[in-house]
Symmetry: C2
């Protein structure tokens, strides 16, 4: 046996949220949408001709790109699609974060930002959120090679409002600023209306949350034509065919059904607001989530313990054993009856501690 | 407007084979399979529950991995799947080609090998094929960081036989040797039986050619468990969910139907051998292709001209305006009647030149 292992890249693999195989569980741990995708998605599956699959996909994913452009009132040349927003953001790192100065992002945020930076050898500095998990604008006033920040942030669920992100984009005209809007449809103010005002603004969104297509892996970026052209050049330079032919049509169908989208998102927002009231009644503390999850702690409960106990009851939420957030649980908004079961269980735990 | 473009990666984008939109064309330019995928693939599309798509895919693609492992008589832990073999190979570069010495591959070969090397900053040296487009074993006897070579090679269609590739693997025990077997099912001798003999051997294959699923983007690597574990660690470290849920099942169905696979591949091989005879009769010169394409030149015909003329007749083949291969056409094997039309057209062109 040779020593080929010397040339191998050694990494710490990411551990994704548990995907339990048991039936009858309440799954509130991966921010999935509790409702099925738009009926048109099912229709595509029923109608799609398998014989078409012998051919390579449309590398430009034209039908999907056009549906996205139409929905947001932008040009097709201002839209870039990828295999989930993870793919879109990774491609954006490769394309735009190619300078020598470190890129900036919050210390508590999506756990892949530092991973991609290390993968692509992009220097980075994390900017601490304040103690209420808010970003502080002036902390970003420093030389940098680019910025990526979620609106709203994850796992906190907090948005800083459009004025904050706009100021960030305005103060860094020489860097690309990526606003990651994975959860924007649940109540945040999107930066999309500003893509023609700022040529260094790239907005990234996904079909995984508000459009109930986590299983299909579709993400997209919208920005001015020049940004999108650079992204496409890099993407096509090393893998032209990434999105499969069926997925292109599933995504198109999901994007076209605006009424269904509005209805689903509305139900999730209603359930979230109800859940907030209930959590507050039980003494939980949390920021004002504009996402499909709530990041909450309780003064009398040990988060790691509650996480385990809920798990044994068949209720899966997310717990991050990381210094600044180890007292918190991240709870995805499911259907109303699922949240009622969760609240009933949490109520018992709170009562037990106060006896 | 700021100068953010200074930080942008500048690349020369790849130009994929033309995907003409016209009807009634004969498309022999991208090595697609002329037959539809196995009937089970259509069945999956008809049965798949759209509601399942609200959930993230199985990151391990278990059903697909198991079907591949079963088909090739290996363990699931010896199989890695990706979004097309392009994704699998790119991931392999990142994982295994991480040393300081240059990696090696032929000068005439798949056009992405140098692209990925540049993308990931992997030093490389190309090793010239001889004048008949054969690889010369002793030319690879030099210090290197790894080797990637297709069996059979593209666009030449030529295989060197298992003993050649085995010797390559044996002579480089301290490097990972990747054998790219995209076209192996059309008559080459796979290196798969040797994965337990050589722990530095990684075999890559695809569903795009012999399994008629170019539209679905499925590729895979098979190698010893340790190699596969390293690959998975790198993959999971930066994008856990790449293959969508529907595709996992489409791939499984295609892999399970062994009789259909054998039948399709058999038909393509028969048509290829018929096409070879006809091309020979017309005076074309070509290597002994073991793939689903033939790389041929004619002493009296200008390849670039013939390419254009065929295109105007609605017959699309591939032409590479590159020094050593500019006299050649790469002709995908289509259905028998498509090849008959092509041969009839070529016969006219040959006759016109000899008048």
């Amino acid at each position: 046996m040779g020593n080929w292992e010397e040339n191998v890249r050694k990494v710490v693999p990411y551990v994704p949220g548990e995907q339990p195989k048991r039936a009858n569980i309440i799954k509130l741990n991966t921010n999935e949408n509790p409702y099925p995708p738009a009926p048109g998605v099912e229709e595509v599956l029923r109608q799609y001709q398998a014989s078409e699959l012998r051919k390579y996909p449309d590398a430009s994913a034209t039908d999907l790109v056009n549906a996205i452009a139409e929905n947001y009132g932008v040009q097709a040349s201002e839209v870039f699609v990828g295999v989930g927003s993870d793919d879109v953001i990774a491609m954006s790192y490769l394309t735009f974060f190619n300078g020598k100065d470190p890129i900036l992002f919050p210390d508590i945020t999506y756990s892949f930002y530092d991973v991609w930076a290390e993968e692509f050898r992009v220097p980075y500095v994390t900017i601490p959120l304040d103690q209420d998990f808010h970003a502080v604008l002036s902390d970003y006033d420093r030389p940098c090679g680019g910025i990526i920040i979620p609106n709203p942030n994850a796992p906190t669920g907090i948005t800083e409002g459009r004025a904050f992100y706009e100021e960030l984009v305005k103060r860094h005209p020489n860097q690309v600023v990526i606003i990651d809007e994975a959860y924007i449809d649940f109540g945040g103010e999107s930066m999309l209306p500003l893509i023609h005002t700022y040529d260094n603004l790239l907005v990234v969104q996904t079909f995984s949350k508000s459009r109930s297509l986590a299983g299909s892996r579709i993400g997209f970026a919208i920005g001015n034509e020049k940004l999108i052209k650079y992204l496409m050049d890099v993407k096509y330079s090393f893998n032209s065919y990434t999105m499969d032919s069926v997925t292109i049509q599933l995504g198109r169908a999901a994007m076209e059904d605006k009424a269904y989208f509005k209805e689903c998102v509305g139900k999730i927002i209603d359930t979230r607001e109800w859940t907030k009231q209930e959590l507050k009644r039980l003494g939980f503390v949390f920021g004002d989530s504009k996402t499909n999850f709530i990041f909450a702690k309780h003064p009398n409960l040990d988060a790691a313990e509650v996480f385990q106990e809920l798990r044994e009851e068949g209720i899966f939420v997310r717990y991050f054993p990381k210094e600044r957030i180890k007292d918190y649980l991240r709870i995805t908004i499911g259907r109303r009856e699922e949240m009622e079961t969760l609240i009933a269980s949490l109520e018992k735990k709170v009562q037990a501690k106060s006896c």
